[in-house]
């Protein structure tokens, strides 16, 4: 078995969310975008005392930073030993099929989308993990607003950006 079916993934993810929320676990939601400005602060050597945002995210940023190290480790081990999908690659097969064959184009778009992704997530106060999974699980209205906007925009962008019709 080299991949789990979607329903097993959903059940396991639900178990992980409940463990994380539980007071016997971490007593907080799962989040995965606050670590980015947190690491940006470390890498670009910003003084946390000088920037209000770094002060604001000091605790969640550190928590997610440690979780990120775990996710990198877990993802790497699983890709090498279980899914056997580890390989160095510059351009996804789907990009070649539905966009173009240019590595430069893929890398430039990656850079650009990574840039606005983090700004978007931080403006909204969460991402797929923090808003969609953790927020909607708490039935938070804010997360439902975010989730609806994202779902619509993802589908519209997909239609406009890729050559959907090809094959």
């Amino acid at each position: 078995m080299n991949r789990l079916p979607w329903w097993m993934g959903g059940i396991l993810m639900s178990g992980l969310l409940l463990l994380t929320f539980s007071i016997y676990g971490a007593d907080r939601p799962i989040g995965a975008s606050t670590y980015v400005p947190y690491f940006a602060g470390i890498i670009f050597d910003l003084d946390p005392e000088k920037y209000s945002y770094l002060k604001h995210i000091a605790n969640p940023g550190a928590w997610e930073g440690v979780m990120l190290f775990g996710a990198l480790f877990g993802g790497f081990v699983t890709s090498v030993f279980i899914t056997k999908s580890f390989r160095i690659s510059l351009i996804p097969t789907g990009w070649q099929k539905y966009k173009n064959n240019s590595v430069v184009s893929r890398l430039l778009w990656s850079f650009f989308s990574g840039f606005i992704m983090i700004i978007g997530a931080r403006l909204a106060g969460g991402c797929t993990s923090g808003h969609f999974m953790s927020g909607m699980s708490q039935m938070a209205i804010s997360s439902m607003i975010f989730g609806t906007v994202v779902l619509i925009v993802v589908i519209v962008t997909g239609r406009l950006f890729y050559n959907v019709k090809e094959k």
Binding site: L17, L18, L19, D27, G70, L72, G75, L123, G135, T157
Partner: protein
């Protein structure tokens, strides 16, 4: 066990050490547990293959529905379990505020980038861990995005987000019927997960690395 505490220093290594130290003291699970949560998180994402470009960008093209199916099921199941855990005192709410401008502008930027990059901030690192250099470049873009956000937070981004309209959850609209609302929400969301038609976009380059009898595209045929 000897605990080495490094509170001094502003170089990268000291600040990484301070990060670990912070997690030890902030009371949201032990360091080992937080790391373990990350391992399981990365493991689930990798094992279900939702970190692949073909999953999220494939969903944007409506050629793959694994990500929404898995997300909706996780939300449906968790919402019911979590509500009763909170009722029993085993967990707390951590609701994000309704900041209309931030949610809508942020959602638009996030949606565009998710469709183009084919990742989100949770699946991206898992993708990097399996050797995807294009996503690493995306992460560098993300770090610069985080830098710009931090630098101009007070002057630009905070006013852009607008005022918070408070924290609301669905059950508050139906006082007296909370349990019913939770059950209906959880069940409806789970049913949505099941009824979304299952579509899969496969990546030949990945499948080619597997033995013939383990290929998921062959099994379905």
């Amino acid at each position: 066990m000897q605990v080495v505490v490094i509170t001094e220093g502003e170089d990268i290594l000291s600040r990484i050490a301070q990060m670990f130290e912070n997690v030890i003291h902030q009371g949201h699970g032990s360091l080992a547990l937080v790391f373990l949560i990350g391992i399981i998180f990365g493991g689930i994402i990798q094992y279900t293959r939702v970190d692949k470009f073909e999953k999220i960008a494939g969903f944007a093209m409506l050629k793959d529905t694994i990500v929404p199916k898995m997300l909706f099921l996780a939300v449906g199941l968790t919402s019911i379990g979590l509500y009763f855990m909170i009722e029993a005192g085993g967990a707390h709410y951590h609701i994000k505020p309704i900041i209309w401008q931030g949610l809508v502008i942020g959602g638009i930027l996030f949606g565009i980038s998710m469709a183009i990059l084919g990742k989100c901030p949770g699946t991206g690192p898992v993708s990097i861990a399996e050797g995807r250099i294009d996503v690493l470049i995306g992460a560098i873009g993300g770090l610069l995005g985080g830098l710009v956000f931090t630098l101009y937070y007070d002057d630009f981004f905070k006013p852009l987000m607008g005022e918070s309209a408070g924290k609301l959850i669905l059950t508050e609209f139906f006082p007296g019927h909370e349990h019913l609302v939770v059950l209906i929400f959880g069940i409806v969301v789970s049913i949505i997960a099941v009824v979304i038609p299952k579509k899969e976009l496969f990546d030949e380059a990945d499948l080619a690395q597997l033995p013939e009898d383990e290929r998921p595209d062959r099994k379905q045929a």
